[in-house]
């Protein structure tokens, strides 16, 4: 959390710093199948977030000791580029944050992928944050779902993700970096849009039960819209080749 003396006014007349309403998500653009070597890929722009996701597999499981005789194992890497932040140059390589996020993201996809179809194999999911402006794990999950579908890997749903929480005393959705730094709470969610099952849930900061349910409501609404953008991106690959 940043220094309080620099805290900007996050809400003015119900509008946010960038003019959005509390329940309004940033603009999302997704392009599938943009990489040449990967089995599936997606490039996503979500506000100022720019994210590349790719999938390899199912393939032979390396290292061998990871292998599961009953299902495919999923490897997931979430990583931020050293130039992805508006501030100073970052370090490359995994850190404690990226390791935790890689784990919770992997668990999302272990839920939706029919891993039992491909015993003894591995499916690798790579999420590279090229530019980050708040909500990168949610944007990364949204992009990775499209990359998995693009790879033709059977799964239950195109998972969509978005963060909700509280800024300037109000419940809102999809926070930018500044809002996240100075807001009261942050609740990233990944949701299967088909049945609203919550597959990733993390939270920091404070929320009442009422606020939490209001936030869930906002997330369920947003996820429908995000899912539409995802499906269009998956389909678009097959529409421009006439």
């Amino acid at each position: 959390m940043a220094n309080d003396s620099e805290k900007p006014q996050l809400l003015v007349n119900g509008k946010r710093i960038d003019g959005r309403a509390l329940d309004e998500i940033r603009e999302i653009k997704i392009q599938a199948g943009i990489l040449n070597k990967a089995d599936g890929s997606a490039y996503l722009e979500w506000g100022n977030n720019k994210i590349l996701a790719a999938v390899y597999g199912p393939k032979e499981c390396i290292p061998k000791h990871d292998m599961n005789p009953y299902k495919a194992v999923i490897h997931c890497r979430y990583a931020m580029a050293p130039f992805s932040s508006l501030e100073e140059h970052g370090r490359s390589g995994p850190n404690r944050r990226s390791t935790e996020l890689s784990k919770v993201i992997r668990e999302v996809f272990e839920n939706v992928i029919f891993t039992e179809l491909y015993p003894k194999t591995a499916i690798d999911i790579f999420i590279e944050i090229l530019q980050g402006d708040g909500g990168t794990r949610c944007a990364g999950i949204t992009a990775a779902s499209v990359a998995l579908a693009n790879a033709g890997i059977p799964m239950k749903d195109l998972v969509a993700a978005v963060a909700v929480g509280k800024i300037g005393g109000e419940v809102g959705i999809d926070f930018s970096k500044d809002e996240d730094n100075f807001g009261e709470s942050d609740l990233p969610l990944a949701i299967a849009p088909r049945n609203n099952e919550i597959l990733l849930l993390q939270m920091d900061g404070l929320l009442t039960k009422e606020e939490l349910n209001k936030a869930f409501g906002m997330a369920f609404e947003a996820v429908k819209r995000i899912n539409k953008i995802q499906s269009e991106a998956v389909r678009a690959v097959y529409k421009n080749t006439e």
């Binding site: 199912p58 033709g152 995802q230």
Partner: protein, 205 residues
Amino acid sequence: MRIVVPGEMIADSPKEISYAYIDGDKTYSSVVGLFSEQDLRLIPLQGPYVPITEDVVVGVVEDVKFAGYNMDITSPYKGFLLAKECGREQFDLGDIVLAKVRDVDEVKNVNLIEPRKLLNGEIIEISSVKVPRVIGKKSSMLEMIKAATKCEIHVGKNGRIWIKGQNSATATRAILKIEKEAHTDGLTDRIGAFLKEQTGDINGQ
């Protein structure tokens, strides 16, 4: 026919459809694919190759062992060709071999039979889900390409294709065009026209 995506409902009752799954009383697609309402068929537009019995595949010898050969068959699972299936023929590392899948056991060993070495050709690889389009109904597409280019062509179910002949470049281009446009209508006519245009040039020289 329409393009469906994972999680999209394709029937509001439980139906057994390949690449789809049933949840509660409804049926959903699990892949990006072409779905036909009339015959309730879902054809994936992308996806890995998983070998099944009777598939003819184009493999590459990856390891030579006493008992036989390990073969790469562009699948997460390796093929194995028992030496005794090869008669007098012996294979070397890197040889390209046409073979049939006898069976796939429960630990996903893929047993190959009826090997045949393919010599001095070119190899291209396409997505295995597009192979049915390259072959066409009753082999019509493949026969058309063979006739027009006078190439010898072997199409593996695994998406690996072996081509040999003077006009192999034209055959390659035609096959890559099929892969790219596999989901569109009128493909046979377009490929026919493409082949005519290409081979016409060659004959006209």
